[in-house]
């Protein structure tokens, strides 16, 4: 049985307790508490949680990437890796909300929902049972449905919440259907037993196994924003509070990838399914459609939303070639961590711009470099890192991803084309990122500097240090990624 002191249980205890206590404190204080009071409590809970994950890693209390377990969760390096990425995003969201939430109602409920959703995101990555994974998935999703519609008077926020809820509910239904079919043909919900059941499956039941894997791809694909399951994403990212967009783009999306690696990739390998080509095609479609659509946008939030779709495509390259190249999966995990910081940073910069100047239209960003120099610098670095410009951290993860695709070329003739498509798409993305940078620094003349929110500055400084620091010296992160990446090969078995 899973130990009480294991990382996921301690995270549930800390974040769950604070998440439930915050609304109670709010009621006791008759809703008079300031935003900062609740934000500091939530921030402290998240810092303690991430410190505990770090402590467990340093003391080597965490198993190497186990993937399977007799329990519903396993305290392994894979889960720990995702926990760190998602807790960083939750910290960004909380710190970024210090200023943003000052003008909004119900700060206690807001931070409580962020904490509850964070537990869900983290637990998805630790799950080794389909029921547990689905419950964690719902805990991640349900608070975000409310958070997206938190600005009740804003029709855009309402529309975003409704769209997100309907698509989210549909994706959950598809996942449950996949789980029920899987349980029906293998007799278990434990992922290890499911994988064993798949490997000894009666040939007559193979179509059902294929159907269940397809349903998992579709269900998780909604959250990841893969083409053609991405329609909800731009409207939701644009309409929701920008801090919550950070949580969605940099957090919940990654949970989709964690679940995909735990189930879909393993299932494909065991079933000897040649879905690698299908995932490869999905990767190219997602990258290209995301980047081409991003070029046509006039709103910064919407452009970043489409860029987020494109990045799901890059990450998918590593998953597509994972049965044939360990470098591919390592690249995917590295890109997931980097993307959490890069995209989180970019959307927190958008939060700062909206809070201070109340604009997101690209034409209104002229002279932002003079008006909000630190925010503009942070946004510039995040955009360059997203494009994969050296020596920033995003460069190394893309090198690993494309290297993985080339590495798999000996087994899959089409794999190098994924690398070529990735490089071309990166070049394409640099065009629209460069356009934003030009607007901020080389257009407009008379703008005066305005006061930037301190919480936004804090996120920018941390992220700049992360992206530049680990860009110049990536070794520690690469070793961490190698430790966290599960070994997947055609002959593996629980």
């Amino acid at each position: 049985m899973i130990e009480i002191s294991s990382t996921p249980i301690v995270i549930i205890a800390i974040l769950g307790a604070v998440g439930i206590i915050l609304p109670v404190i709010n009621v006791i204080r008759k809703e008079t508490g300031s935003n900062s009071f609740y934000a500091v409590i939530a921030f402290a809970a998240l810092i303690i949680s991430i410190a505990y994950v770090g402590y467990q890693f340093i003391n080597e209390n965490i198993l190497p990437s186990a993937l399977f377990s007799e329990d519903v969760i396993v305290d392994d390096a894979f889960g720990g890796f995702f926990a760190i990425a998602m807790l960083i995003v939750a910290i960004f969201t909380t710190v970024g909300s210090f200023n943003y939430m000052r003008k909004q109602n119900y700060p206690a409920i807001y931070y409580s929902l962020i904490l509850l959703s964070t537990i869900g995101m983290v637990l998805v990555a630790y799950s080794t049972d389909l029921i547990m994974l689905f419950v964690a998935w719902e805990l991640m999703s349900i608070p975000t449905y409310a958070l997206v519609g938190f600005i009740k008077k804003n029709p855009q926020s309402n529309e975003a919440a409704l769209k997100y809820f309907l698509f989210g509910a549909l994706s959950s239904a598809i996942i449950v259907y996949g789980i029920s079919i899987t349980y029906g043909i293998t007799g278990s919900t434990n992922i290890g037993e499911v994988i064993q059941g798949y490997s000894t499956l009666d040939p007559g039941l193979l179509p059902l196994a294929l159907l269940s894997v397809g349903m998992f791809i579709a269900g998780f694909g909604f959250k990841m924003g893969l083409v053609p399951f991405h329609q909800w994403l731009p409207d939701t990212y644009e309409g929701s509070p920008p801090t919550i967009t950070t949580l969605l783009a940099a957090g919940t999306k990654k949970a989709g990838f964690a679940a995909t690696i735990r189930i879909v990739v393993l299932g494909m390998v065991v079933l000897n399914l040649d879905w690698t080509l299908a995932l490869g095609i999905l990767a190219i479609m997602t990258m290209t459609i995301g980047n081409v659509a991003a070029i046509m946008q006039k709103s910064l939030s919407r452009m970043l939303a489409y860029s987020s779709i494109a990045h799901a495509g890059y990450i998918l390259i590593g998953l597509a070639v994972s049965p044939y190249s360990s470098l591919g999966l390592q690249g995917s995990l590295y890109q997931i961590l980097n993307h959490a910081v890069m995209k989180g940073m970019a959307f927190i910069a958008v939060t700062g711009i909206i809070t201070t100047l109340a604009v997101t239209n690209l034409d209104k960003l002229k002279g932002l470099g003079r008006r909000m120099p630190i925010t503009a610098l942070g946004l510039t670095i995040s955009l360059l890192a997203l494009a994969g410009v050296p020596p920033l951290a995003g460069f190394w993860s893309k090198i690993m991803l494309f290297g993985g695709a080339l590495d798999a070329g000996s087994a899959l003739w089409w794999a190098p084309w994924l690398a070529i498509a990735g490089v071309l798409n990166s070049a394409l993305s640099l065009a629209y990122y460069g356009w934003i940078i030009r607007r901020m620094y080389f257009e407009g003349e008379t703008e005066k500097r305005v006061s930037e929110p301190k919480s936004i500055i804090a996120v920018m400084i941390f992220s700049i240090i992360f992206l530049v620091g680990f860009g110049v010296y990536p070794d520690p992160i690469i070793k961490f990624v190698e430790f966290a990446t599960p070994v997947i090969s055609s002959g593996f078995m629980p």
Binding site: I20, I119, L123, L139, L205
Partner: protein, 170 residues
């Protein structure tokens, strides 16, 4: 006999679901929803799961559907959304749904699922309870957190704006 019951339950469940979506009156829609939820309880009975069927009836039909009905009756009529309908989209949606259902049905019927036979006894509800408190205990805690989050979120979203403004003034 089982086939006839299955067909009857399918008609009740799907028919009520369509009625719940299409009826203009929210009250009739809520009552139709009760039919869908009750039909699902019938499927559980057919599948030798009387324990789950009882829960389905008690929780969904008995509590949730009644709660929805009360909520609909208490909501001010002018606050209910106006229905703007695009008929072309509706037909495209129906066509897509039919294609999806036929494809799914074909896959399931073509598979060897009909060959599966099981002589295992129905699951004892004590085992379900034991599993919840042993194997699934972390999931049980998360379910509690989901309910807690859903209730607080629903309270915030459902609270009327004029009440919020009063509070700010106070």
């Amino acid at each position: 006999m089982a086939d006839a019951a299955f067909l009857a339950l399918s008609v009740i469940t799907i028919g009520s679901a369509i009625a719940a979506l299409e009826l203009r009156s929210l009250i009739y829609g809520s009552i139709a929803l009760m039919g869908t939820l009750g039909g699902i309880a019938g499927f559980f009975l057919l599948l030798d799961s009387p324990f789950v069927a009882m829960f389905q009836l008690a929780v969904y039909v008995g509590s949730i559907a009644v709660l929805i009905l009360f909520t609909v009756m208490l909501v001010k009529r002018e606050l209910i959304f106006k229905k703007v309908e695009d008929k072309r989209r509706k037909f495209v949606g129906i066509a897509l749904m039919l294609v999806l259902m036929v494809s799914l049905g074909a896959v399931i019927l073509e598979s060897g699922i009909k060959e599966i036979t099981t002589d295992e006894p129905a699951v004892d509800f004590r085992e379900i309870g034991e599993d919840f408190l042993t194997y699934y205990w972390p999931a049980l805690i998360l379910m509690g957190l989901i309910l807690s989050g859903a209730v607080t979120a629903a309270l915030v979203l459902a609270r009327r704006v004029d009440e919020e403004n009063d509070q700010r003034v106070n």
